[in-house]
């Protein structure tokens, strides 16, 4: 008798080349009461009148379930801003899809929580902007957001829903990881994600303000690893390392077009939510095609498998583990989306971005560029 290993980053080879997605990232809206400087949404945000209607989201969920999706991440922006969030959650349950609400816990979140729980919501992932009011409200850009979040978290655990806290780590809070762990325990969270900022969207625009010092990263990783052992069975802690300082790149999205399908608020269907930053790829909308057609479309095929790889990826024995890292980051940092992600120490660009990270983290931090609505986007 044995339990199979948890599904790894890749689909077992025995299942052939016909990849099926496990997860759907449903970015229901870009509207959000917060303005976090590390927001991973694109610089050009979708406005309310461009958002998909309820009927289309229900069709997308039905098509996703048929395609093999098992977990739906209801995200945004703040997903509870959508007036149909309860209906969408109920549809997930009806279709046998595991629903994960990725929320800030502010705005409409608390008022809608009982109805969401009733509709069959499976899990809540709550973002954490800081461990105290001053810090959290400053990062989120909204006075009172921290108190609202605490009240929301208490309601989540009181109604018996599992709670995960997601803390994005950056230069402004990297010394607070112990306090974050205590905070998660006090709130009754089952899981904590200590997630170093990944530099996409607004976070890339704010990189110099967010980049932590290498020695702080090393110290933090050590402390978190110690807590993982000490708190085993009480709090499960996931650690996302900052990849500018890593030796190997992250297996971004579990590989392009392998495990994840992402739908933007306007209905664009993407292999990852940042994929539109790569030029030359045509991404279809769920208005015009089914998810199954789009899953097999050229943009999803572009970096699927390993045939597209160049050296040093092509002959690397890690290519089926990390897939050469992140395509969006490869493009953003080298101008070539098929290049090895410079986060990898085998990349010829690795020394350059490592030096860039060191230089940014040791200079005085510039002020944050706060996340803004579509109208007044900065040119970054």
């Amino acid at each position: 008798m044995s339990m199979q290993p948890e599904l790894a980053q890749r689909e077992p080879a025995s299942r052939g080349p016909a990849y099926r997605p496990w997860g759907l990232l449903a970015e229901l809206t870009h509207r959000c009461p917060l303005a976090c400087p590390y927001c991973s949404n694109p610089l050009a945000l979708v406005s309310k009148n461009e958002e998909l209607d309820t009927e289309t989201w229900l069709r997308v969920l039905t098509e996703a379930a048929a395609l093999g999706v098992r977990q739906v991440h209801l995200s945004g922006g703040e997903p509870t801003t959508r007036s149909d969030i309860v209906e969408i959650t109920a549809a997930c349950r009806r279709l046998g899809l595991y629903s994960n609400l990725i929320t800030s816990g502010v705005g409409a979140a608390r008022a809608k929580l009982p109805a969401l729980a009733e509709a069959g919501l499976d899990h809540v992932q709550l973002s954490l902007q800081g461990v105290n009011q001053t810090q959290a409200d400053a990062v989120g850009g909204l006075a009172g957001s921290h108190q609202a979040k605490l009240a929301f978290a208490a309601d989540v655990t009181a109604c018996g829903l599992p709670l995960t806290l997601n803390a994005v780590i950056h230069r402004g809070n990297i010394h607070d990881t112990d306090a974050m762990i205590d905070f998660a325990l006090r709130l009754g969270a089952r899981r904590l994600e200590v997630a170093h900022t990944q530099f996409y969207g607004w976070a890339l625009a704010n990189r110099a303000a967010l980049m932590p010092a290498r020695e702080d990263v090393v110290t933090t990783i050590r402390r978190v690893q110690k807590a993982q052992v000490e708190l085993k069975g009480r709090l499960a802690i996931d650690l996302v390392v900052p990849d500018y300082f890593a030796r190997y790149p992250k297996a971004c999205c579990g590989g392009w077009g392998r495990r994840l399908i992402s739908v933007t608020p306007a209905g664009k269907v993407l292999p990852c939510h940042a994929a539109e930053t790569i030029p030359g790829l045509t991404f279809f909308s769920c208005w015009e095609r089914s998810l199954a057609e789009i899953w097999a479309s050229p943009a999803f095929e572009a970096f699927r498998g390993t045939d597209w790889m160049q050296e040093p990826c092509r002959s690397c024995d890690r290519k089926e583990w990390d897939f050469g890292g992140c395509r969006c980051q490869a493009f953003a940092l080298t101008g070539d989306a098929a290049a090895t992600d410079p986060a990898c120490s085998f990349s010829p660009e690795h020394a350059r971005i490592s030096a860039l990270a060191t230089q940014e983290s040791t200079s005085a931090p510039p002020p944050y560029i706060p996340r803004r609505a579509a109208k007044d986007v900065v040119s970054a």
Binding site: M1, S2, Q71, N100, Q125, T164, R191
Partner: protein
Amino acid sequence: MTAVTAASVPRLPRGVRLERDSARGIWLLLAPERIFELDQMAVAVIDEVDGISSIAAITRRLAQKYAASQARVEAEIIAMIERLVAQRVVDLQESA
């Protein structure tokens, strides 16, 4: 971490559930930010996890059903439940 023993009573908390994946022809344990693929015997164990039965009771039922040695079955169930408890996917309550 609380030790998992034959007296432990495992329970699936809200937000963890067993689902048949008909598209892939496999059984899955769906959990927060995790999906576990279960083989036939792991499904049999999870099926017995009801928040009332101790691991000893689950062991007796499965050892009989599959004509396997109690000691072996118990050791394997404990190892599997330990792993899930560590990840907060399964909760424990000690039986009286």
